[in-house]
Symmetry: C2
DNA sequence: TAATCACATTGATCAGGATCAATAAAAAGG
DNA sequence: CCTTTTTATTGATCCTGATCAATGTGATTA
């Protein structure tokens, strides 16, 4: 059996996370969720050197588009992003949402150009990791390569699950699955698993789940009538997680 | 006890293509599509040592299931496979089809167990690549790591495209897109881009595209009436590829 | 603070594709 | 080879979720 990673959740100081964009990997509260996991101290320092800490992006601002050639992968430092791809006639699909510690742009390295458009969902910041430099480092740090492979593999299995959702689940099941996925990710990051603020619009959610906005709205209302959740705009609280789990299938 | 370890060489003359499972990477006709691409000759020899050539699988036979722990990735040598994942209540989704030179099991390395079930669609064979050994080799061959990353990334972008298909395309668009994807993959492998045999059932296709069998059948008939394709069971020929392209969106 | 604009909810109606049903055609198996 | 089983096609009907429409609720800006 090949055991690759053990991303244990935990981080404490929210304030740091939000505001100190220059914070080095060594002191970053995302350490356990991020790329450096498993690196030795001296290797970490080297990784730290190649990472560019970037200014924040405001809601709706673009991180990259399919027009740009691939140079870097991005790790969310604070806030959140969405990626979309489009048909030639302008319909588009929200392929993923990204939270702190998650990698954006991994699907780009094959074609050497970004395969999707990435936009901030709220005021957010990222660490930019130039891929060339990362590969150079990787030659001397197998652990880093493994980390990277592991991330790609994780995204891959997430995508397969979404295929199952898109292809085989009903509207109710889709939304239940989505809410639990958010819950898990918030709780992995030290936030409440049952009460959180969603920063994506109903439209984004609907699009991501292959539904119409109206359907999402109706399912939210129905779940609320049944006492499974409470919503107030962007505030969501899951009142009966166990029951919601049974809805996911 | 007489151990019969390697019978294959005895049959060297029998259709190398299909049946010589012991054929080394150096002589393999899939070279350009496969893992070794870009490796130096001596590195290739080393890679060759860790690869296990496996007996063939018959239609419907299992390559691996979600119950098994992850040890190896598999490269299709001949034939084809499908992978599926399932909901807790038994609905399942065909997540991908795999052709010669393509890698199966890449989504497994994150959780160290296979995330899907892989089955042969016809009499097929694979090369088994033990992941531990591959990682060891990778330490000395950056090119190999890059190849691996590249493959993961490629699968990732394929999956994103499928999300777009599942979430935003109509039945006609789905089937047109699917046919062209097959066409491309056959032509990449030196076969005709316009005439080929599909080895997956209508059910598999329907499931993969998030449709009912009946719908797939009807769309096939409609495309045929419109003179865009000809079908005869598993034989498909694309009569007007340009027009089919316009259907994909 | 009003005015504008983007987003959300709810209702009424519609349609694409699912489901049900029957038959036909291939495979598989004895 | 004939029998049995699986897979494919075609038709009739139904239903989930899309679309259209109207109103409500927040946000942003002047």
């Amino acid at each position: 059996m090949v055991q690759i990673t053990n991303i244990a959740p935990l981080f404490k100081d929210m304030a740091k996370l939000e505001h100190d964009y220059s914070l080095a990997c060594q002191e970053c509260s995302l350490y356990r969720l991020c790329l450096p996991l498993g690196l030795h101290h001296k290797d970490l320092a080297q990784l730290d050197k190649i990472i560019k800490r970037r200014q924040s992006y405001k809601r709706g601002e673009t991180l990259f588009t399919t027009e740009q050639s691939f140079k870097s992968i991005y790790v969310v430092r604070s806030g959140s992003f969405k990626t979309t791809i489009s048909t030639s006639n302008g319909r588009d699909q929200v392929t993923s949402f990204y939270f702190p510690g998650e990698f954006i742009g991994l699907d780009a390295l094959y074609q050497a150009s970004y395969q999707s458009n990435a936009k901030a969902l709220e005021t957010s910041s990222v660490c930019e990791v130039p891929f060339d430099a990362l590969q150079e480092l990787g030659k001397e740090m197998p652990q880093l390569q493994i980390q990277l492979l592991s991330r790609l593999s994780k995204e891959l299995s997430g995508d397969k699950s979404l295929m199952l959702l898109l292809g085989k689940k009903t509207a109710d099941e889709k939304l239940a699955t989505f809410l639990l996925s958010l819950s898990k990710r918030f709780s992995d990051r030290g936030f409440s698993a049952s009460e959180f603020q969603i920063m994506m619009s109903r439209g984004d959610i609907a699009n991501h789940l292959g539904l119409a906005v109206e359907t999402v709205s109706r399912v939210f209302s129905r779940l609320q009538e049944e006492g499974l959740i409470t919503t107030n705009g962007k505030e969501i609280s899951l009142r009966d997680i166990e029951k919601i789990k049974t809805l996911c299938l």
